[in-house]
């Protein structure tokens, strides 16, 4: 039977509740939310002057109201040590989601750590170490001293190639510009770690090399382009379920035809109509169904190709549109090279594509017409190409990705309104690190090296190989064996005798053992094999910046405390660096120790200013204060300068006598 909360009412947000900018940390869309917090002892009232909304809450509120929140949007959490109510609800003024909440973001409050309401009690609260045969809580200094001593000893014997690292590289929860910079400065600045891998994959590489190698960054349009396109081509993406509010708030208006006025305003006399959509997916998804409901079946072409045959379909389209002359010759001449040889190399007939993909020839041609046949009067058709795991994780990723970008380039749909050839994305992005050039290409296949017994120490940041690597069963067998060797060795030493402990660990490492350190917010599967667990803070427990699928950068403000002793990842990285420096100096390695200077950060803002602000393109314009002022809409990267904002009447009334210096705002 359905789960019911038996909740018949919720505390009312009082008029004086604190308001914080929040961006949902779950998926790449990055919907805007607001977190409201106030003292646990009281609540607001139903009268307009007693609640945050300024409306009479003793009456039924209408559809799409701002003045309501679900039980999942409510919790009781700690803020600066005090119990506070928190409500995290969608922000109607955010252009990304316009007040829509998904089953992910609309549960952020319920999915927060609360001792009072017993939610997320699995969160890691204290550093833990393997001591006398089990994981036991300890202090940061104790845990990090052990990590630093073992890491330094491994470097002394094996060099930095003996340090293996698995690290997040993205935005949202477990990542963000602060934290990628913290880990990046540690492993690519203080050290030059080569044996490093990312997030969900066994090496340090992009999921979409091909588009980058072609000079087309994978997030090259705006969500608004989905409202302007004549045709959307969706390859291996199920947007309604996985980028829900991007689909609902930006694709649906175009499918319904309600964005036509926006198109007219943008494109003048060019003929415009409601959007048509080509969906390439072996499965019939809810996205396909919703598209048919909104646009009518006649405007939806679902091509249920044989799994893994995208490449030949894409090349057949390229061949066909080039044969028909439906390509943008000026764009090709200005922005590409060797187009003719690309065309010749990838030549595929419609019949051959039909035979391999299992799609009727007529449907392949119809799709090509929807993509590229010029509109009435000869205007170029605006097609937006969106792809995700169905293409990325299919066979022959590199060439398939490249084939889609070829088609987008040939039809002039890169960097144009209503166009784009974009990843739909998983999580937000937030990459800021010193150069990874020393990693090289192809990047080390880290998980294979671990299976083969390479490396002495493994630092893991928000990754779980046990669940996500290739050949996970073999990985787990090898990894458990190697880490068990170290656990057994640790059990032979007295915990308080640090030098004996490090000697025992190093002895096991020399015999093929591996010392593993896991930084995460919850216990993980690979964490079961580790010797040290370090508790991290997540979005909202720290100030955190990220960018979404249209490069929209925003700051999620800290609205609650992290659990127990947990800290932001960037500060954990800094404290590891501090301990490394201390341990290396103790052993007389002054020169090596000097590499670990520059980690004096006290807050995540310090890490942001040291990283993004100093190193990223346009970063000099970006500060926490400016991001706070820009709210949940933020700005689209890269920053190019500061504009004086137009001030509304309300703002003018609240202005001080003299306008503040814009540069100081």
């Amino acid at each position: 039977m359905a789960y019911k909360r038996q909740i018949g009412r919720l505390p009312i947000i009082p008029a004086n509740a604190k308001e914080h900018n929040v961006v949902c940390h779950y998926c790449i869309v990055g919907c805007g939310y607001k977190a409201y917090t106030w003292d646990a002892r009281y609540e607001g009232g139903t009268a307009p002057d007693e609640n945050k909304f300024g409306v009479d809450l003793s009456t039924q509120q209408g559809a799409d109201t701002e003045a309501w929140y679900a039980p999942a949007m409510y919790n009781l959490v700690k803020q600066n040590g005090h119990d506070v109510h928190v409500v995290i609800k969608p922000d109607k003024n955010c252009v990304v989601n316009s007040g829509l909440g998904s089953v992910r973001g609309a549960r952020m409050a319920e999915m927060s750590y609360s001792r009072a309401r017993n939610t997320q009690l699995r969160r890691l609260t204290d550093p833990m170490v393997w001591r006398y045969g089990q994981m036991q809580p300890t202090s940061w200094d104790d845990a990090l001293d052990l990590v630093a001593r073992v890491t330094a000893a491994v470097i002394a014997e094996q060099g930095e190639d003996g340090v293996f690292v698995s690290a997040f590289d993205h935005g949202g929860a477990g990542g963000g510009y602060e934290n990628t910079w913290g880990t990046g400065k540690l492993y690519f600045g203080a050290m030059k770690v080569k044996n490093i891998r990312i997030h969900n994959r066994p090496a340090y590489n992009s999921e979409v090399h091909a588009t980058r190698d072609m000079g087309v960054g994978e997030l090259n349009n705006c969500y608004e382009d989905a409202e302007l396109a004549d045709t959307i081509v969706a390859v291996g993406t199920n947007a309604l379920e996985t980028q829900t509010n991007y689909f609902l708030n930006h694709w649906v208006p175009n499918l319904r035809g309600t964005s036509i006025n926006k198109k007219k305003a943008e494109f003048g006399n060019e003929p415009v109509d409601r959007c048509r959509i080509v969906i390439v997916d072996p499965r019939r998804t809810v996205t396909t169904n919703a598209c048919e409901v909104e646009a009518g079946k006649e405007n939806v072409l679902h091509l249920a190709l044989n799994s893994g045959t995208d490449l030949i379909l894409l090349n057949a389209w390229l061949t066909y549109v080039a044969d028909k002359g439906w390509i943008d010759k000026a764009f090709i001449a200005a922005s590409t090279r060797d187009f003719d040889s690309a065309l010749a190399a990838n030549k595929v007939s419609i019949d051959e594509a039909s035979r391999v993909t299992g799609i009727p020839s007529g449907d392949i041609i119809k799709a090509a017409e929807w993509i590229a046949q010029p509109k009435h009067g000869g205007a170029r058709r605006r097609a937006m190409f969106a792809y995700e795991k169905g293409l990325i994780w299919g066979n022959d990723n590199y060439r398939t990705n490249g084939a889609l970008v070829n088609l987008a380039l040939a039809t002039g749909n890169i960097g144009r309104p209503g166009g784009g050839c974009v990843r739909m994305g998983g999580h937000q992005e937030g990459y800021s690190r010193p150069s990874d050039a020393h990693v090289g290409r192809p990047a080390a296949y880290v998980d294979k090296l671990l299976i083969e017994g390479k490396g002495g120490v493994h630092h893991i940041w928000g990754c779980d190989h046990y669940k996500t690597t290739l050949n996970a069963l073999q990985f787990k067998q090898a990894y458990k064996k190697r880490t068990d060797m170290v656990k057994d060795a640790m059990s032979t030493a007295t915990y308080g005798d640090r030098s004996a402990m490090v000697n025992a660990i190093m002895d096991a490492i020399r015999k093929g053992g591996l010392f593993a350190v896991d930084v995460d917010i919850v216990p993980t599967k690979i964490g079961e094999a580790c010797h040290v667990l370090l508790p991290a803070a997540t979005s909202g427990e720290m100030n955190l910046t990220s960018m979404n699928g249209e490069r929209r950068m925003r700051l999620t403000e800290r609205y609650m405390d992290p659990p127990g002793q947990a800290m932001p990842d960037c500060l954990i990285a800094a404290r590891i660096a501090n301990h490394m420096e201390r341990v290396l100096r103790e052993t007389g390695k002054e020169q090596l120790a000097d590499n670990f200077r520059g980690f004096g950060w006290k807050t995540e803002e310090d890490a942001f200013m040291d990283g993004y602000h100093k190193h990223e393109k346009g970063g000099e314009f970006v500060t926490y204060a400016r991001l706070r002022a820009m709210g949940t809409n933020g700005f689209q990267e890269p920053a190019v300068g500061i504009e004086r904002l137009l001030l509304s009447k309300l703002d003018l009334e609240h202005l001080p006598q003299r306008l503040p210096d814009q540069n100081a705002s």
Binding site: Y3, K4, R5, I7, G8, R9, T59, Q60, V103, V286
Partner: protein, 173 residues
Amino acid sequence: MKRCDRLVDVGRRQFLTGVSAATAGITASTMLPSESRGTPSSALVRYPANRLANLSDLKVNAPFYVSYPDANAPGVLIKLGVRVPTGAGPEYDIVGFSTTCPHKGFPLSYRSADKTLDCPGHYSRFDCEKGGQQIWGQSTQNLPQYALRVDDKGDIYAEGVDELLYGRLSNVL
């Protein structure tokens, strides 16, 4: 050894040495605190028992539109024709739900083919045979269901709701 100043330990020590802090406390307190009164309120919402229909009004698998707990809260009664765990009435097959979608407040419509309540706004769907379980959608709660009672005359009463209704922070306004 470092001295322990924690109050819990102070209390323990005083208890063990038999010092009567309570007596000292009473003699020291000569000023009465000024008191204001708190407002009593119950822990749960008090729902009305409202007659929504009679058994004779219902046809199998056809929606009978009602409102509960007041006129501004639209809902539906459905005689499913099959016994369900949350069913009321002699055949245990009558259920009642709010018809305001708990995602964004759009009106749900009954689809008799699979006995679901469906939302035209963002495609959420709720299973009437499974206590309003969300089959697909973006609501973070299942559909609020009525607690029903049927009396000897066949009158059907609603006496409560098991989830928060969309658009109100108290189910009874």
